[in-house]
């Protein structure tokens, strides 16, 4: 059993401060477990979000030791630090404590028209799994790529890696009929794929190991030759 100091950035509208808690952690304890323990034993007013607790929903994404990660998949012992710093995800408006609004994320998501566009008969067709893009389907819309993106931090209009990945799945779906409309949105000089500076932060932090920078690179090459 190790003792950790957990520093949490608490926020409420117009007010923000850091509060420290002490947690004794077992070997396999996750950051989410620690948050539940703090909430149950030390501070019931602490707000955070979670749902599945097994890394499938992406709800518990937060900044852990200044790196956006899923709280349920991050073991405290793996952080290799006696101090654990928790803060809401960067690049998102904070609602309360560790809870952020995903509205800007889904605003960009909606811009690329995420739903399949095609005739009903086409959409019912069975498509063969493509090993090249199957991993890209694993996105859980946790917002970690959006929070980690250095470009997103300075350009609010940028679509962001997750929305571009979604567009990639649609553009490479033979049943879809809105390919040109999506490519036009992605080709936008200020908000499209050209904004990406290949920092690889999204790829490095995606909890589902999706190579998002590669997706963006493929779009750049597609747009260049089309």
């Amino acid at each position: 059993m190790n003792s950790y100091q957990v520093q949490i950035r608490r926020s409420s509208p117009g007010h923000s401060y850091v509060r420290s808690y002490h947690v004794t952690s077992a070997e396999r304890m996750t950051v989410l477990d620690a948050l539940f323990r703090i909430q149950a034993e030390q501070d019931s007013s602490l707000a955070f979000r979670c749902a599945c607790r097994v890394g499938m929903c992406g709800t518990c994404a937060m900044s852990i030791n200044r790196v956006p990660r899923l709280a349920c998949k991050t073991r405290i012992s793996a952080l290799d630090s006696p101090v654990v710093t928790l803060a809401p995800l960067p690049n998102f408006p904070v609602i309360h404590d560790l809870v952020v609004s995903l509205e800007p994320f889904f605003e960009q998501w909606k811009r690329i028209r995420p739903a399949l566009r095609g005739s009903p008969s086409d959409t019912l067709a069975i498509i063969l799994p493509d090993p090249d893009i199957s991993r890209k389907r694993d996105c859980i819309t946790c917002g970690i790529c959006y929070a980690a993106c250095g470009v997103k931090a300075s350009h609010a209009d940028y679509l962001g890696p997750a929305a571009i990945n979604r567009a990639f799945l649609r553009v490479h779906d033979p049943r879809d009929s809105a390919r040109q409309q999506r490519l036009k949105i992605l080709n936008d000089e200020w908000s499209g794929v050209w904004r990406c500076h290949t920092q690889f932060n999204c790829t490095a932090l995606c909890p589902k190991k999706i190579d998002l920078t590669e997706t963006i690179g493929r779009f750049k090459r597609t747009l260049l030759v089309s």
Binding site: S81, T198, F200, D211, G217
Partner: protein, 124 residues
């Protein structure tokens, strides 16, 4: 520092490469202005130009020249790395590409910096 190194030498090497590219780009821009300003002194004739370049003969400036070599190499090789990635080089290999560009850069730098240091700074 230890934490920063662990963070940026590992999965965040892409971000480190981006920061290096930005910083070296800005330094080269400063150098370019200095270069153009010196060349501009030619308008005043040979004597004015000699006066403008006189300061560049000091050992300190020779050391800055060696630093300039490092900046040019870092910027060029990192630019090559980004071009390869944009052309479709295996994205999974970007960390290796970054390590290679640093290693090759170090070798090229030593090959250029040692003769420069011996001749310009030590005067051998």
């Amino acid at each position: 520092m230890k934490l920063l190194l662990r963070k940026y030498a590992g999965p965040f090497s892409g971000m480190l490469a981006h920061l290096i590219q930005r910083a070296t780009g800005l330094l080269l821009l400063v150098y370019l202005f200095l270069h153009v300003r010196t060349i501009y002194a030619l308008r005043g004739g040979p004597a004015a130009f000699d006066r403008a370049v006189a300061g560049f003969r000091s050992p300190l400036f020779k050391l800055l020249e060696i630093a300039l070599l490092a900046v040019v190499i870092l910027h060029a090789l990192n630019g090559l790395r980004i071009t390869l990635i944009d052309l479709g080089a295996k994205h999974a290999a970007q960390r290796r590409l970054f390590a290679w560009s640093l290693g090759a850069g170090a070798l090229i730098f030593l090959a250029g910096a040692i003769p420069l240091f011996l001749s310009s700074v030590l005067g051998r």
